[in-house]
Subunit: 435 residues, 2 copies
């Protein structure tokens, strides 16, 4: 279950939403059974698009930033979830080592780190920050916008353990997505828990593998609810050897965009949806909203200007883009003050702990909103009078639309759990052992 | 960890409070380790008294009513905790049978039941209500104050299982404290989980056993924090054969009141506390605030008037009082609008899910507040600006006083866990088996 938050969209709910709300006990039980078989990622945030006729995750982040955008009233949920997570991983833990991103001058990001530190402190852990920045060789204070400070310290490697000076953690939690590759200091850790695992980092992870795993989840879930999985699952294809700067491999992108657009067109026709289909082409290992473009017609790919080519060629930490995912575009019909908005759902362990809207005044309903100029509107708890009550007549209370977003967020998280199992480099040898 | 709620008391925190707040990670870790060894009760509410110099639980309820007095904003915490509880007990569960008290005309109590139904529904269970009232032989609708209804149904016994018509639950949750004795329909259940267990009901349970177990917990915790356990533990004594109506056994009560008052006097002297000690004499199996009196001088017990004798002679469901507990009185210095108030902390599984103040305008700081005329003031989440931040200078932020109440509430809950282990009628045979 998820908190009831006030959503921007507050009109009558459509058939898909009604079905999800009506099936709450069956859905919760289904998740409960899935989590008996599969381990949830430590924490997850999911970007969701609500097109009214379709509701789908478009990005699943395993190193979520932006915890500072949740309302402080939500934090007890995060703390409670963190306690549950820690208890499973390392119940005797005293110390948690948190490794943030290196960009230490971004005050929004630092506010996210400060929020995480508070959550884990309140969950009963001594939390200290270690940095992958090798230029930092002594404890360094970083100023926070609210007047406080964070101290980051150099990592110390002692055989199989990663620590700080006088600080030996049971668990190392990454809030750094490893776009720049897996650093040596994190390799071959033997006696500690490193979460998320190294193969969840963008040095290894691929969006297309995630969405392939998500498709399995969406099919199972759709079967449970007796509905078409497409209603919650974006169609996608992948190209493995693309070089936008040199203009090679674009044919594959064109052909796949064409195929995905045709599939969307067919579905739109089946459902009588009067929309212009579009696809999102993005780096298969991309993050931070870099390397993303909207394609409404494959011909656009023949006429890419230099600026777009450059934008598509590299992502965070200067990583080259060679693999791209061509994903069905899901328009978003959520609006905040006339600006296009998409809900972002935050989870810790298997619990939804809050969410916010990513809002961009200068973007269309068919564009990526994770771009400079985006702002964040925390989702507040719904007022007591607004709480949905099961069994009451429709219209008697406002629907808990955020419940639905929490379901989709958790489906994407479950997809990530499948994905990490399928891509676990140690999984095969384990299977051999048990055989 | 517990949510940060606004408490009535907002002055500077004293040494005891400061020590508890400063020791947060150590305390949370300690609870984590205790819960590895001991099972928390399914749900618990604890009445707490804050005297400034002393902070102690005075009553631990294993069938909490009053969930309707928590703010709706808190309910997601309860739902999350309920999910964690269900997952441990009966992860495949679809159905929960909730058995409330029989007094179906008390609209406040029914609002509590309705709140519990919503919490478990949102945690993913089909919830139906079964009644121990044998005069109810068909599904019966009970009106709620908010216009809704609840339906209670007669219980159906099928060999080892308790069910309703067409409803076979995995877990049966009692919100009925069994003051009237253990009904036959609940005896010898074999294939289902009945929670809390039968020996937690007032037909079997004794306050004195609870506070003996709590004393163990208080000593362990005090050792962890390097403090005197008395600061969180009320002194008590017990008398086993008292009859207030006939005036027999009063000598034991007098002698024990004298002894407890002497112990309090000594402590007050040690700590330089300038207060008049008092004890609370109450039914050892009592509940609902019945059968309780304040004694400042043992001589008062010689001069009991008819009204007091009658009041002390019977408790809920007309049960005779033969056993009494003589407990150190802890004055409460919390005030809401000049009325005396005591915090009540609610827990589900091992998580604090909220709290409220019990307020009584006509009672003194040394009297029981659980009496007709009491009102309830929900504790609200503290505003963002008020959140305590670890490491900040004292005074830089309001202390999270509710954290402390959550710690004491959980200590009492842990006491109840020890108590239920020690009084488990099946425990001995298990020990023999493992020997």
């Amino acid at each position: 279950m998820v908190p009831h938050l006030i959503t921007a969209l507050n009109g009558p709910i459509n058939e898909l939403e009604a079905r999800i709300l009506d099936s709450m006990p069956a859905i919760e039980r289904w998740f409960r059974l899935e989590w008996m078989e599969h381990t949830p990622p430590f924490y997850t945030s999911v970007d969701i698009r609500n097109a009214g006729f379709k509701l789908a995750p478009v990005d699943t982040n395993l190193y979520p930033g932006g915890f500072n955008n949740l309302t402080p009233q939500m934090l007890p949920l995060a703390v409670q979830a963190a306690m549950a997570a820690i208890e499973k991983i390392c119940p005797e833990a005293k110390n948690l080592l948190l490794i943030p991103e290196k960009h230490t001058r971004n005050s929004f990001y630092l506010a996210n780190v400060a929020t995480l530190v508070r959550v884990f402190h309140q969950a009963g852990l001594n939390v200290r920050l270690g940095t992958l920045d090798e230029t930092i060789t002594a404890p360094t204070e970083l100023p926070l916008a609210d007047g406080g400070t964070l101290t980051v310290e150099p990592l110390v490697r002692k055989q199989g353990r990663v620590m700080l000076k006088d600080f030996d953690p049971c668990t190392i939690l990454l809030n750094n997505d490893l776009s720049a590759g897996i650093p040596n200091v994190l390799k071959n850790i033997e006696q500690q828990y490193l979460l998320p695992p190294l193969h969840a980092g963008w040095a290894v992870r691929r969006k297309s593998r995630h969405f392939a795993a998500y498709e399995e989840v969406a099919k199972k879930f759709a079967k449970l609810l007796g509905m078409d999985p497409w209603l919650i699952n974006p169609v996608f294809a992948q190209c493995g050897t693309v070089n936008f700067a040199e203009g090679t491999g674009i044919e594959c992108v064109k052909a796949n965009a064409d195929a995905v657009l045709a599939k969307i067109r067919r579905k739109y026709k089946d459902y009588g949806i009067n929309e212009k289909p579009f696809v999102i082409v993005k780096a298969d290992n991309g993050t931070y909203g870099m390397g993303i473009m909207t394609v409404r017609d494959p011909k656009e790919l023949d006429e890419l200007n230099r600026r777009t080519k450059n934008k598509m060629a590299v992502v965070k930490d200067g990583q080259q883009v060679n693999e791209v995912i061509i994903q069905e575009g899901v328009p978003t019909y959520e609006r905040i003050n006339d600006a296009v908005a998409e809900p972002v759902v935050y989870m810790m362990d298997r619990y939804v702990v809050g969410g916010f809207y990513r809002v961009h005044a200068d973007r269309g309903i068919d564009e990526n909103l994770n771009a400079p100029g985006a702002s964040f509107v925390p989702l507040a708890f719904a007022e007591p009078g607004n709480l949905a009550r099961p069994g009451e007549k429709p219209g008697a209370s406002a629907p808990n639309r955020f419940y639905m977003y929490g379901v989709i967020g958790r489906l994407a998280m479950l997809g990530a759990s499948y994905e990490l199992e399928q891509t676990d480099p140690n999984a095969e040898s384990l299977e051999v052992e048990s055989a």
